[in-house]
């Protein structure tokens, strides 16, 4: 979810790899525990918070990865 700068922790490539790996891990867990996660998130009522939290976590990690991904390919916003 962030644009890469050299002032932050690590270089864009390193950060893209780290966020990419975490993102892959999250999706792998979603695949692995598909039934349990689906059952838990569809219980309804106060369990409504579960899909919201999952969506936010995925968007943070995967959003950061996709941001760095285009960055390291050289597709950056015009200054």
């Amino acid at each position: 979810m962030t644009d890469s700068t050299t002032t932050g922790a690590g270089k864009p490539l390193t950060r893209a790899v780290v966020y990419g790996l975490v993102s892959v891990a999250l999706y792998f867990m979603l695949y692995l525990f598909e039934d349990s996660i689906l059952a838990f998130t569809s219980r309804g009522r106060w369990y409504f918070i579960a899909p919201v939290v999952i969506a936010l976590v995925f968007s943070y990690v995967h959003g950061a990865f996709t941001g760095h991904f285009w960055d390291i390919l050289g597709i950056k916003a015009r200054k």
């Binding site: 569809s42 996709t66 597709i75 015009r78």
Partner: protein, 648 residues
């Protein structure tokens, strides 16, 4: 644990399909703020996902996607969070009401009635708004400087209405607007979102055309509204356990790649491209929905029954057109991104090359908007001290703003020098009160003429510096001011606020003596053949085209000039006249012999001109004192308005 009945098993093909559609949807959403998600609900339904689960899962992927897009575009300074949240909250109410209407229609008329209602909403709303946006995009595409957008007449009116207790400042509008206007717009956005799943088709045009936000900011701010609406929608559906989190996260995986790319794309395009993509998608989507209307009419027995094979065929064609709509939008975004990046690389390569050492044979059109201030008519900064010397500037600024649809920023500076402060606070307060009262009067005049207007009272020691600071802060396109003439020693010792402002201003300065009136009778363009004069020529052309005014181009030769210099003056005039005529302006040229300032003013008098346009070399300080300035001497001699065009 078993998968609930609502949720279908997914195979690799389904996942790939959702990733691709999600990516394209995200790309379009990142670019125009919304509009990428409408295809996902039918796409999921075509896989066998129940309609309600498809809607719920679509919303659940939309809010985190909108969040990522909003954060990305906020980094480019395109997001107005406050406006997005204010619209988002009223949109929630619209969503609830829209859903209620949907349920009511469904209860009374069944599936066919509900589908007909949705399709008609698509056709009517997208037909009106989509074709208007497309027309506007075509129109602005052909303007010379479409990076600069005019505030629509309706938006100027909305911004001029003051309803006490309801006014809120929004940075994207750079104006205060009553929430009584934003509430119904948000509500309509929400209602549309509940009906056709894309509230942004109302939200973005509403922010742009009704409230006056620039197209780029409107599309970026819509992402905040979409986040607020999407979060509310997700909670609502999730409360009933209808969200398929796998579908939502798979679509999110593709769409986050897309939304980042779409957001980057906005930094390379001109504003009309946003409108173009939105218009094309809206019109194609309406075609897609119009195709299936006969099916629903037939199901409701409002028309004759269709042949058995026809409903299925029409629905398939409709879905293909829907996909084509999204693909067309994505293709335009890709092409704009590709061209933008290629152009930037070429410019970067060009910047590294040595500059040409010879004079150009044609008039150089400045690339930066700041170099042709009269290419844009968005923000005028008027400096007034309440005296008779600035009365002309205020009067003409209001006239010009009314004609051009510009916003006025009016600044009054109370000099905070030691002299006044030594006389004590009461006197200073009196000065400030008088200036404030004057600003209120001017503001009332401007608003009565339907002009969006802001006033700024500044207490500072350095008047011209305050004007320049304010011009930079408000990103003014033109500073308009009067002048108090100081001559001889007084000018050298004290200086002249107007001349100092011209020297330091980041934009053009229009100096209007108290008795001058800008009626567009005749313009005089003074040129010495420099790039500064070329910038003035471009400004003069823009203004002359706008006012349908004839122009006389003047290049003065002095007795001391060599034969070569005299020939050059003639070629400068020839070149300028050709340039002016090519642009459709009635033009003549003159090469008089004498002192430049005297000759320019004489020709202006002879032609009964009401404006002299000149370029500024931007000399300040010692250089100005030693070399003098033709601009300054013309200002001292003439009684007509003078536009001094600055280049960077």
């Amino acid at each position: 644990m078993e998968i609930a009945a609502n949720f279908i098993p997914l195979n690799a093909l389904d996942v790939t399909y959702l990733l691709v559609v999600g990516f394209i949807g995200g790309l379009v959403s990142g670019f125009i703020g919304s509009g990428g998600a409408f295809v996902l609900t039918p796409a999921m339904m075509s896989m066998g996902v129940p309609g309600i689960v498809a809607v719920a899962s679509n919303i659940c992927h939309k809010f985190p996607k909108a969040l990522v897009g909003a954060i990305k575009r906020a980094r480019y300074g395109q997001v107005d969070v406050k406006l997005g949240i204010v619209l988002g909250i009223s949109a929630e109410a619209g969503v609830i009401y829209g859903a209620h209407i949907q349920e009511d229609i469904h209860r009374r008329f069944g599936d066919a009635g509900s589908n007909l209602y949705v399709s008609l909403a698509f056709v009517i709303i997208l037909g009106i708004i989509g074709s208007y946006i497309l027309w506007d995009a075509m129109k602005t595409r052909d303007t010379a400087n479409d990076k600069e957008e005019k505030v629509a007449r309706l938006a100027r009116w909305v911004q001029s209405i003051h309803i006490p207790g309801t006014m809120v400042y929004f940075k994207s509008l750079n104006a205060r607007v009553s929430v009584l206007f934003t509430l119904p717009l948000g509500f309509a956005t929400g209602m549309l979102a509940a009906t056709i799943a894309v509230g942004g088709f109302i939200g973005v045009p509403a922010m742009h055309y009704v409230l006056g936000a620039p197209a780029l900011m409107a599309s970026a701010t819509e992402l905040v509204t979409a986040f607020v609406m999407g979060l509310g929608g997700t909670m609502k559906f999730s409360w009933s356990g209808l969200v398929d989190i796998r579908l939502a996260m798979i679509i999110l995986a593709g769409s986050l790649f897309g939304i980042q790319l779409g957001a980057i794309g906005t930094t390379y395009v001109k504003p009309h491209m946003i409108k173009m993509v939105m218009g094309v998608i809206m019109v194609l989507v309406l075609v897609s929905r119009a195709i299936v209307i006969p099916v629903y009419l037939s199901e409701l027995e409002l028309i004759d029954k269709l042949a058995p094979h026809l409903p299925g065929a029409l629905k398939n064609i409709s879905f293909v057109v829907l996909i084509a709509a999204l693909a067309s939008g994505a293709a335009i975004v890709f092409s704009a991104l590709w061209r933008g990046i290629s152009l930037q690389r070429r410019e970067a390569a060009f910047a590294g090359a040595p500059s040409a050492a010879f004079a150009p044979s044609t008039v150089t059109t400045p690339i930066s908007p700041q170099l042709s201030p009269l290419g844009r008519f968005e923000r005028f900064l008027v400096a007034t001290d309440g005296s008779e010397y600035s009365a002309g500037a205020v009067r003409e600024a209001i006239n010009m703003a009314q004609k051009c649809g510009a916003r006025l920023h009016i600044i009054s500076i109370v000099a905070g020098d030691a002299e006044i402060e030594s006389m004590g606070q009461p006197l200073l307060k009196k000065e400030l009160d008088t200036a404030q009262a004057h600003l209120e009067t001017v503001k009332a005049q401007a608003e009565a003429s339907g002009i969006a207007c802001e006033t700024h009272l500044v207490h500072g020691s350095n008047v011209h510096q305050e004007v320049v600071n304010e011009a930079e802060r408000t990103q003014a396109d033109l500073v308009i001011m009067g002048r108090r003439g100081r001559h001889g020693l007084a000018r050298l010792m004290v200086g002249d606020t107007t001349v100092k402002t011209i020297g330091h201003a980041p934009c053009g300065v229009l100096v209007i003596p108290r008795a001058a009136a800008l009626s567009g009778r005749h313009f005089v363009l003074a040129s010495d053949g420099s790039r500064y004069a070329d910038a003035a020529a471009v400004a003069a052309v823009n203004l002359a085209k706008y006012c349908h005014t004839p122009v006389t181009a003047v290049s003065v030769i002095m007795p001391s000039h060599s034969e070569e210099r005299r020939k050059e003056a003639h070629s400068i005039i020839k070149r300028l006249v050709a340039f002016l005529r090519k642009e459709g302006v009635t033009a003549e040229g003159e090469v008089p012999l004498g002192q430049p300032d005297e000759m320019i003013v004489q020709i202006a008098q002879k032609r009964q001109a009401d404006l002299i346009v000149m370029g500024s070399h931007g000399r300040t300080g010692l250089e100005r004192i030693l070399l003098g300035s033709t601009v300054e001497r013309v200002l001292n001699r003439t009684s007509c308005a003078v536009l001094v065009v600055k280049t960077s």
